[in-house]
Symmetry: D2
Subunit: 427 residues, 4 copies
């Protein structure tokens, strides 16, 4: 028997108004009802960052569960322009491999929820992220940074909640008892999270790191052995380190709108099976976790950006920027998008991109992205200077002095220390 309607009636709104990040799934639906029971008025909120859900259906479900309002914000373009583009400028990869698809979306979603908080004059936000993951951190740090006095209700970290709902069975029973529509499909034996940049898969069978990811897990990318036997060749143009146009050199498709351009690269990269990775990464909270990701457009763009950057950026600037990029990736992964240090880092990186412009030709084929060629009006490459056949302004004899002076320190070291290097014959 449903006990809640009366309880809801009794408590409704006593504790104020909370905006719940609502996906329409079982977890957040149970949380929605539970919050009402606890005495909150609940505004359900979905950020559309390209996950492609049926927002009308979600709205209906939210209202049926008792939300006083439902808001869906289309943040797809913001996500691309505000979050993904800086990551492309940074060639951002967490721990050298993960393209941060989830991490980049979180500040965007959080920015939206704080807007809803202000629009609805709410006091609190709530979310369904677990207490062991990165997303809780990203979500909450972003909210605190944007709205320091916000209250955050995270049921999966509240003993009264997580001790009550110890497994999916408890959620199902609660849903049944409270007229919460149940999901019609059986859920996969893993958890997934998607947006227009990527889909991540983790948990369930993936928790065993020596268990290979099932072949049918991927939703954005075709398996390379089923992908087309014909490569896609693209020309990608950058300005200030940001992609401004993509041209398919085969069928002459051209995309210049940021969102369309990104989605188009997802389409090409997806059909060519590009951007799959299977990694064990270090969560911010100190445990290692195994994740499987697919990130087609991101992989293509970072590969191409890295090339045009090397072509147009001074070598010494590049080294400093490389370190800043490592910091950016960590800040982003750990939820510090809205922090003084991440804003500082983004500003510095953006400064480094002033002349990162030009066109890169890439071939996307069977799971891999190949760089073919590049050109730029801001290139620091000088064909004549580098040519073995042209002496030009460069006098080879100068290299003698260059090397001799650089050797001073090495010779002195050897002479004064008399050391022998590992691997060196000592006879």
């Amino acid at each position: 028997m449903a006990e809640s309607p009366s309880k809801r009636a009794q408590n409704g709104g006593k504790k104020g108004k909370v905006v719940l990040a609502y996906s329409g799934g079982l977890d957040t639906s149970c949380i929605l009802v539970w919050l009402i029971e606890e005495g909150y008025d609940v505004v359900a909120y979905t950020a559309d960052v390209g996950q492609g859900d049926d927002y009308d259906a979600i709205r209906k479900k939210a209202m049926k569960c008792g939300a006083i309002d439902y808001v869906v914000k289309d943040l797809k373009r913001d996500f691309v322009v505000e979050n993904i583009w800086p990551a492309v400028q940074a060639n951002a990869k967490y721990e050298d491999r993960y393209l941060l698809g989830t991490a980049l979306a979180r500040p965007c979603i959080s920015k939206g929820i704080i807007e809803v908080v202000k629009e609805h004059n709410a006091q609190a936000v709530s979310h369904g992220a677990t207490g062991k993951g990165n997303d809780q951190v990203r979500f909450e740090l972003s909210c605190y940074a944007l709205h320091p006095s916000i209250e955050i209700i995270a049921p999966w970290k509240m003993p009264e909640f997580y001790n009550r709902f110890q497994g999916r069975k408890d959620l199902f029973e609660y849903a049944a008892a409270h007229d919460i529509p149940l999901p019609v499909t059986t859920s996969a034996p893993w958890s997934m999270d998607g947006n227009l940049m990527h889909i991540s898969y983790e948990a369930g069978v993936l928790e065993d790191p020596k268990h290979e990811a099932p072949v049918d897990i991927y939703q954005m990318t075709t398996d390379p052995d089923k992908s087309p036997s014909k490569p896609d060749k693209l020309e990608i143009e950058f300005k200030k380190g940001i992609p401004v146009s993509v041209t398919h050199l085969g069928d002459k498709t051209v995309k210049t709108d940021p969102l369309e351009l990104f989605l188009y690269l997802n389409e090409i990269g997806g059909r060519q099976g590009v951007g799959r990775i299977d990694i064990v990464e270090n969560r911010y909270i100190g445990m290692k976790s195994r994740g499987v990701y697919e990130c087609p457009a991101g992989e293509i763009l970072i590969t191409a950006h890295m090339d045009i950057e090397s072509f147009t950026m001074d070598k010494a600037v590049r080294r400093i920027k490389q370190t800043l990029s490592l910091r950016f990736s960590e800040q982003c992964y750990e939820g510090y998008w809205y922090s003084p240090e991440c804003e500082f880092t983004r500003d510095c990186i953006d400064r480094s991109q002033e002349c990162v412009e030009g066109k890169v030709t890439v071939t996307v084929y069977k799971g891999h992205v190949y760089i073919n060629a590049r050109e730029s009006a801001q290139s620091l490459y000088n064909e004549e200077l580098v040519s073995m056949d042209v002496k030009g302004d460069y006098e080879p004899v100068d290299a003698l002095g260059f090397i001799k002076v650089n050797a001073v320190r090495l010779k002195e070291y050897r002479r004064l220390r008399g050391v022998t290097f590992a691997g060196e014959a000592t006879k």
Copy 2:
């Protein structure tokens, strides 16, 4: 008419003994003869680092040109163990992409030449590297570091030589005039350098960065669209960050000897078209150059090593080691292998690898290397801890405090500064 024999006779050995890094090609053959003309006794030396030349033929050519001796040193195993293994431990990539195949071979070759110098009681070394490239630096810095009083004769940086030999035509004429055997094949319209780790292609038609590399340029790797339609699945085992065994999970081939293991991965990676890159990089001497590389085994090993490292290395150690790896790549690229800083960096990295052990399963297919799974007795991954379904020692409520304390700084910043972040609604 050949003027040299008499001149050679007159000057022969007056200036002492020089060991020439000799490839048997047109350049170094001309240099050999020219050195004799200049009054040196020349010991020709070839380092076998897996380039697969016919050393008997080279010996004959050297002796015919007038060398007083010819020495070939088989350094293949040294190269793998002393130079490539540390690079694998470091996940070494120069400027995020180049696996350093040439740079790693240079200290190995130099170590060999200094051994020959000592064995033959010579005073000088000579080489045919040009005055615009990295190799002159790597070669000379290594020699100075290992033998501070060595004299280095680099004809391509001596005006009397490079003003005399301004093009290939001058070399051909000199060769004809001095009975130097001419190459029978027309050389490719680019220059290449190979060893067992990689082949590099540069110069010639490649000097135009918007000119795509010819499809037939590659010699170690099959074009992905001609590669087998069947993936190769391998299990690679590491100890202390070094590969100790490779097992083909299909045909059960097993390789454990370092050199055999590496060559086998070249074979597998080669037939699957793995390890091709086309980049513009920054030379040490300050100019950008365009290089095309293929490095099959290296690509497989670094991909696998990075995975087992993430699995077994503490997160905070990893960050420090990541910075050390960047330094290592730069040191190696710039010719500082035999330097106090590179030896220090290698020692630190080696220290970080103490527990980097375990097995990684990889799929090599159509130009790409996929990680499938990993296991290790030294894993720092705790399946039970990370599981969403197991609470274990980890109390989700603790994450509340973790986040709140981390938010203190962000909230204060917002409150005290009242700033708005870029992209944030300001209404």
Copy 3:
């Protein structure tokens, strides 16, 4: 009326045995009694890290308060050798100024408490550090790292405790009610913490950062305007980056024992008023705090060590080591002494110190440490090479090439970009 005796009798030991870090002060005495009330058997523990207390008096007080045992561990030598020496090797300064006197002592104290836990077969540790400081973190992280299953009882973070004891008045009343001996002296209007390395002062009147520290606050150092008018001149000898002997060049005093040497430098530095700083630093928990410190021996040693290090360490090694030192200072400050990353960093730094040996002459006078001279058998300084009057092996003409090659990149940048630098005339 004292309610506790009976309560203590009722609960005594029910919850097991706890080792309390006990100073004998009001706070930890109240905690001792409170823990007994809560049902614990309490072993009181004091780490003697040079704070110079009367341990017999503390023992009596502990036993009077109801401790089942009292342990004092003399960790002074351990503190110097295990914790301070690595900091000297690192030239460790947190945020460029703070010599980490408190932070270095915490792992030492924690190591001792875990030993007591094992010796007494206890289940828990307790401490009186507040919930806003760094020490709680350093103490608890060290304990968890050394004994993962340890339970930590931190009353100042337990609402039932801190809501009960909201001010010193509550502690006084509690002490009075439980026969806890009260401190006889009025406490200073600031809080202080001392050990043989330093004394720190914070809180109270110091909380206002524009309020100058009282002139009479300092206990280890003489005010420079009251210090002797005669400098002390010392020769400090290092081996492997560690001080092995100090000689007073005036009165010929010699100290070689680590502890005696360190205390002697405190004496000299103290009378000369050396090592005072007044800073605002960033606590690990994200708030800024103002601290006043005096650290005489530390200041002398790091000044001297930095000098001998520069004299004997290769320039490029120094740069890498400098970054490692920054990491070490942060790790140490934030409580991660017993962590994989700090042990790794210490090992790397230790590796860098292999040849850091020799003698440095310093003058200590009126608050400042001056370097006068240095000598070392491992010096990498070559007087002949550097002399303007000796050409030696160095050919000035080589510098031409060195500069020209280094200028290639700059000239190209100017030519290809046509930029003007800030401050440059553009006419």
Copy 4:
């Protein structure tokens, strides 16, 4: 007999016009005459960066030596504003100690010489820096960067010059033979270089690193034991990390003009004996050298700036900025002021200083600078938050979770590895 007049007449101007950095000393006077002999028209140029010379006397000497023109540029204000202020923002110290007084002046002087080149339509510049020092590099790299096609004539690196002038005696004889006015005073047994920021002393008796600097060497600073017995107390105000006003809290002197402010701090620091250091540093060209420096205003300003920066800059931003500052110091020391990387680094650092403002009180006394207090409208210090007596928004219980989550990784490491840390009892 003077051979030169006729030779000068014969060659004069045949090779074009050269701008010589001219100090009026023996070296550059000889170079001036030698350049004329070699066939150049010489414009003598002095940059007034505060060295306090008699420029009229220098002009007369230059013209007497045969210069076609003499130009003195007053660059004192530029030097302070364009070069020293960025160094203060960076807290720039090369190798942790050297405040870069010479290095900062070189780009300023070079900017001036290139202006003269353009004003006089010259083809070349010349200077008297030796071939073993840093200044040649700084000077030449700056000139090449600002004017890529400039020709640089560095006689001390030209064998025809340095083989002719092997010692001071040769210069004296040449001067005598060419009517070059001889210096009236005997030169000190060391070399020195000064500007308004500092004076450096090196060479001569200082070349022996165990030889103490003579007590009478210092020219800007009073010996601490002769300095006033009364401290000077100053309030220094910063905006955007730059000092905008200095107030003497004793006599109420106020300075706000950048140049006056800097000179005033030199006066105060000078009489208090502040800013002396004696170090062995690593030159860019790879040799270690010993330098003695005095830099009074710089020492005061960096000490004060570091304090106000810590007070107003976010902790995480500070860490990133700290690394950028290290890079800036290296770039500056090595002569790369006018480089893409240094301009990038300065821009990033400048970005970090946006809110670095407020007032710092310092005491300058007997060779040391003490921070007393600070205040700022942009402070990120929150007295209420940090107070032990105020709970405010900070709940101590949160620290429990903070520490526990941070301990997850440490506990796991211990459990899974079972390692024992160095120094830990293993019983």
